[in-house]
Symmetry: C2
Subunit: 209 residues, 2 copies
Amino acid sequence: MEKEISQAVIRRLPRYYRYLGELLEEGVERISSSDLSSRMKVTASQIRQDLNNFGGFGQQGYGYNVQFLYDEIGRILGLNETHRIIVMGAGNLGQAITNYMKFEKFGFVITALFDVNPKLKGKKIRDVPIYMIDELDEYCKNNKVDIAALTLPKEKAETTAKHLVRLGVHAIWNFAHVDLDLKDSRVVIESVHLSDSLMQLSYNIVKNS
Amino acid sequence: MEKEISQAVIRRLPRYYRYLGELLEEGVERISSSDLSSRMKVTASQIRQDLNNFGGFGQQGYGYNVQFLYDEIGRILGLNETHRIIVMGAGNLGQAITNYMKFEKFGFVITALFDVNPKLKGKKIRDVPIYMIDELDEYCKNNKVDIAALTLPKEKAETTAKHLVRLGVHAIWNFAHVDLDLKDSRVVIESVHLSDSLMQLSYNIVKNS
């Protein structure tokens, strides 16, 4: 079970996880690779290849056990553990992430926001308190932080990320419009570049018109 | 110039565009593929291959003209045109997108938000008015809409997207946790799946620990 799975497969796993979750919600217990194929719009052979990485794949004509695969992929993705997240920046985006309840379902719990705006001091988003940035060191000393989400201007992102790493945070979910270069192999970074995504869309609009 | 460029290259263009923009801000006029390579952490040969798609590439030892490449890639990405965006859903995420000034710099102008919450009626985010969803048809009749950003629960996303397509909107920027299936080849969809991104991060945390 613990053999190396290729990064290409890994990148497809959240999508499998999402579709398997929808099947569970619909009460589907087993699904053939061809049914899953038409739902997900990938070839059945791709699905068979990908899911063969996880054992427990159905016999010919019998299909996959949806719950088993869902749990197994969830485990591979680390969703059986709780991940504590702090959000750097309590502006609209930071608040949007904090308000997005679905993350908790997957084990991601937001425990605090940090901002420089004194007007936000002591406020809460849902039940999550907003602290001032000068309380960050103390907070990280007293609380386990697994992930820091950066919803900051790009000018501040790298300095803040480096400071967080010094405080022991080794995973960064970066929304700033910059690639972080932390020169530290222990740090895991995942970036969401909204502008890049919008540019892809724009390219396809121009191409289609 | 108008030969077909592969999707793999296209997906890398926004990142080139971002780095070239940073170089321009720093006043850099020319850059060699090896300097760009060490900045972007991709191989120089990859950069040469990618940028050869756009002509105007420098001679050996002379480097790329930063402004030329920046403009050319911007043109390929359709950033020389204005794209009018409406945002469906005026919650935190919709407001965050509307407040993000940088999109305008790239030609993406948000013209309206739509929501079902009557408390939001008549309010503005920056200068952008929030309308009620029952004003959508009229709005689309009287205003050009190039892109609709969906910041809605997944249950409402597909119905809303289909309605928008009937109203003549052919590009969807989807933030809902679902793959939209509109069965209409004219429609261009780009999804930002935040949960998928968080799961990638979680996988890499578990792998690294």
